[in-house]
C-alpha cells in the first residue's frame, strides 16, 4: 500500500466534506443565483459582492472571522448554544459550515451565468403555455441550465477539496475529524516525510487534472463550436 492509513482517512474525510458541501450549496446556491439574476432589488449589488468575497479574500481572513462567529461570543456560537448544539470550531460540522461560505461563489457564479444565458424568453414561453413560475423553473430552467449545474458542482467539489487556510483556522488538525488531505500533506512536509507528501500530492494532482478534463470534455456546446 502506497498510502498510509492516515492518508486514506484524510482522503475519505476530504471526499465526505466536499460531497456534503456540494450538496448543501446546490440547495442554497441555486436560489441565491436565481435571485441574483431575476431580482431588481437594490440589494442585488451588495449581496452579489458578499457572495463573491471569498474569491478575493485570503482564506485565513475568512477563517478568522468564521472562527470568531462560531466562538462562544459570536452570532453562530450563540445560535448553536441556544439550540443545544456544542461549539462548532474544531468539529466536522464547523468545517462544513465554513466550507459552505468559502465555496459559495464557486457554486453561485456558474449558476448565475447559466441562468443569465437562458434569458427571459423561455420563461415567457412557459408562462403562455400555462406554467407557473415555479413549474417553469423546474421544467425549463433546470434542464436548460444543466451544463451550468455540472460546472458549478464540479468546481465547488474541487474547490472544497483544495481548501487549506480555512480548514486550519476552523478545523485545526484533528485526525478523522478535520484533518483533510491538504492538511495531511502539510503535516507530512513538516515532519520531512517527503515520500508520503509526494504520493498524496500526486493523488491530488491527478484528481485536479481529471476534474478539469471532465469539465472541458463534457461541455456540451464544445462540440458544436
Amino acid at each position: 500500500m502506497l498510502l498510509l492509513g492516515s492518508d486514506m482517512q484524510a482522503i475519505w474525510l476530504t471526499v465526505k466534506l466536499a460531497s456534503i458541501v456540494t450538496v448543501i450549496l446546490l440547495l442554497v446556491g441555486t436560489p441565491i443565483a436565481w435571485w441574483l439574476v431575476r431580482s431588481c432589488s437594490w440589494w442585488k449589488g451588495p449581496i452579489g459582492a458578499v457572495v463573491a468575497l471569498p474569491l478575493v479574500l485570503p482564506p485565513s481572513v475568512l477563517g478568522f472571522y468564521m472562527l470568531l462567529a462560531m466562538g462562544p461570543d459570536g452570532p453562530i456560537g450563540h445560535l448553536t448554544r441556544t439550540l443545544g448544539v456544542g461549539p462548532l470550531p474544531f468539529t466536522f460540522g464547523g468545517l462544513v459550515i465554513a466550507s459552505v461560505f468559502y465555496s459559495l461563489p464557486f457554486m453561485v457564479q456558474p449558476l448565475q451565468n447559466a441562468f443569465e444565458a437562458i434569458g427571459d424568453r423561455p420563461l415567457e414561453a412557459a408562462a403562455t403555455l400555462g406554467a407557473s413560475p415555479l413549474d417553469a423553473f423546474f421544467s425549463v430552467v433546470l434542464p436548460l441550465a444543466r451544463p451550468g449545474f455540472l460546472t458549478a458542482g464540479v468546481l465547488t467539489f474541487a474547490h472544497t477539496v483544495g481548501e487549506f487556510g480555512v480548514v486550519l483556522m476552523i478545523g485545526g488538525n484533528l485526525p478523522g475529524i478535520t484533518r483533510v488531505v491538504s492538511v495531511q500533506i502539510y503535516d507530512h512536509v513538516e515532519a520531512l516525510e517527503y515520500g508520503q507528501a509526494h504520493r498524496l500530492a500526486a493523488v491530488m494532482l491527478i484528481f485536479a487534472f481529471l476534474v478539469l478534463l471532465a469539465l472541458y470534455a463534457w461541455r456540451p456546446d464544445a462540440k458544436k463550436g
Binding site: 423561455p122 414561453a125 412557459a126 408562462a127 406554467a131 413549474d135
Partner: protein, 356 residues
C-alpha cells in the same frame, strides 16, 4: 360583453403607450404600425408579460387586469407566438407541444392531432428544435400555441424573422387557421401585405397610440388614414372568381360594384378571393379610353381627395358601385382633370394582387 376591452398606460423612458380600445372577439385583428409604435408592447400587456401600472383588461367580461386584479400570464387562457419561435431546446417538437397540453386546465377544444395536422408538422415531431429549419420551427411554435386550446391567440410578428420563401411557406397555414378555427387572433405586424391577406379588423398604431381602428376593408379605404403607408396605400376587396378565360390565362374577379380581370392563378370559378388594389396602380380618366393596354376600366365617381405624403401627390377616393378604390395621382393631374367630389370618371386598374 363579447369583446376585448383594453386600456393601458405605460410610460417608460423614451417610450409611451397610451391606448384605450375595444377589440372584436372574432376573426383576425391586425395590430399594425411601424417599429416602435407600441404594438408589441400592447400585445405583451394583453398577455400579461408586461404589467402596465395603469391598466384595465377584460376578456369577454372576465377581468384580467384592473386596479385590484392581476391575472398572471399562466392563468390567462391564451396562446402566444413570439417573433422567434422560442421553442424549448431541450425538448423535441412533440415535447414542446405536450408541454402546453399537459398544463391545460380548461376544456381541450383543439386536439394535438388537429394542431399537428393544421400546421403540417407530423413528420417533424421527433426532432429537437435545433434540427428544424426556421420555417418549421415557427410552424411548431404556432401549433404549440394552438394546442393549449386558447380562447385568444396572440401572434407577435410570427413571420418577421423569416425570409420571403419561409413566409410563403407559412402564410397558407395562417390562412387555414383563420378559416378553420373560431379563435380570435390578435396579430402584430408591420407588413401591409400580411395584414391585407390575413386581417378582418385593423388597428393602426403610431407613437404608442391607436390612430385608426375598424373593419379592414373600410379602414384601408380611408384616404385620411393617419399612418404612413407609402407605396402600400391601397384597398382590399372581397371577390369571387366569376369566370376564367383559359385562352388568355385570365380570371375575372367579381366584387360588389364591378369586376377586375387578373392573371389566372388557378382558383376555381366560384371560389372566394381577397384582392388587393394599390393606389399607385389606379389611374383616372375623364373619357373612356378605348385604345389602351389596361384591361380593367371601371366607371367610378370621385368621393374625396386628400394630400399624400409627398407634396406633389394626391390620393383620390373613388366609389365603384358599393366598393371603394384609391388612386394616387400627381396633383397637377388632379388640377388638369378638374377632379372634385361627385365627378364621374373612369378608373384604370393596372395590377391586381390576389391574396388567397
Amino acid at each position: 360583453m363579447e369583446t376585448i376591452e383594453a386600456r393601458f398606460h405605460v410610460d417608460w423612458p423614451g417610450f409611451l403607450l397610451d391606448v384605450d380600445c375595444v377589440l372584436p372577439d372574432r376573426g383576425v385583428t391586425a395590430l399594425f404600425g411601424h417599429s416602435g409604435s407600441g404594438k408589441t408592447t400592447l400585445l405583451r400587456c394583453i398577455a400579461g408579460l408586461e404589467r402596465a401600472r395603469q391598466g384595465f383588461l377584460s376578456f369577454k367580461g372576465e377581468i384580467w387586469q384592473d386596479d385590484t386584479t392581476w391575472r398572471p400570464t399562466h392563468k390567462r387562457p391564451l396562446g402566444y407566438v413570439f417573433q422567434e419561435a422560442s421553442l424549448f431546446p431541450h425538448l423535441t417538437a412533440l415535447g414542446n407541444l405536450r408541454y402546453g397540453i399537459r398544463r391545460v386546465t380548461t376544456e381541450h377544444k383543439v386536439s394535438l392531432d388537429q394542431a399537428v395536422e393544421l400546421l403540417g408538422i407530423g413528420h417533424l415531431l421527433d426532432r429537437k428544435a435545433d434540427r428544424l429549419s426556421g420555417g418549421e420551427r415557427q410552424r411548431v411554435a404556432i401549433a404549440r400555441a394552438l394546442a393549449v386550446s386558447p380562447r385568444l391567440l396572440l401572434m407577435d410578428e410570427p413571420l418577421a424573422a423569416l425570409d420571403l420563401k419561409r413566409k410563403q411557406e407559412i402564410l397558407p397555414y395562417l390562412e387555414r387557421l383563420h378559416d378553420e378555427l373560431e379563435i380570435p387572433v390578435l396579430y402584430v405586424s408591420h407588413s401591409p401585405d400580411e395584414v391585407a391577406r390575413l386581417a378582418d379588423h385593423l388597428v393602426a398604431m403610431e407613437d404608442g397610440r391607436i390612430v385608426a381602428s375598424g373593419p379592414l376593408v373600410e379602414t384601408l379605404a380611408r384616404i385620411d388614414l393617419p399612418i404612413r403607408l407609402g407605396e402600400d396605400i391601397g384597398v382590399v376587396l372581397d371577390a369571387v372568381v366569376g369566370e376564367r378565360d383559359e385562352a388568355w390565362h385570365l380570371a375575372r374577379m367579381d366584387f360588389q360594384g364591378g369586376s377586375l380581370w387578373t392573371r389566372d392563378m388557378g382558383a376555381a370559378t366560384g371560389s372566394r378571393m381577397r384582392v388587393r388594389v394599390l393606389a399607385r396602380d389606379v389611374s383616372l380618366t375623364r373619357e373612356l379610353q378605348v385604345q389602351t393596354s389596361i384591361q380593367n376600366l371601371l366607371p367610378a365617381r370621385v368621393s374625396a381627395i386628400a394630400d399624400d405624403e409627398h407634396p406633389g401627390l394626391a390620393l383620390v377616393r373613388i366609389q365603384v358601385g358599393a366598393s371603394v378604390l384609391i388612386a394616387r395621382l400627381a396633383k397637377r393631374a388632379v388640377a388638369a382633370l378638374e377632379l372634385s367630389p361627385g365627378q364621374e370618371v373612369w378608373a384604370q386598374v393596372k395590377t391586381v394582387t390576389l391574396l388567397e
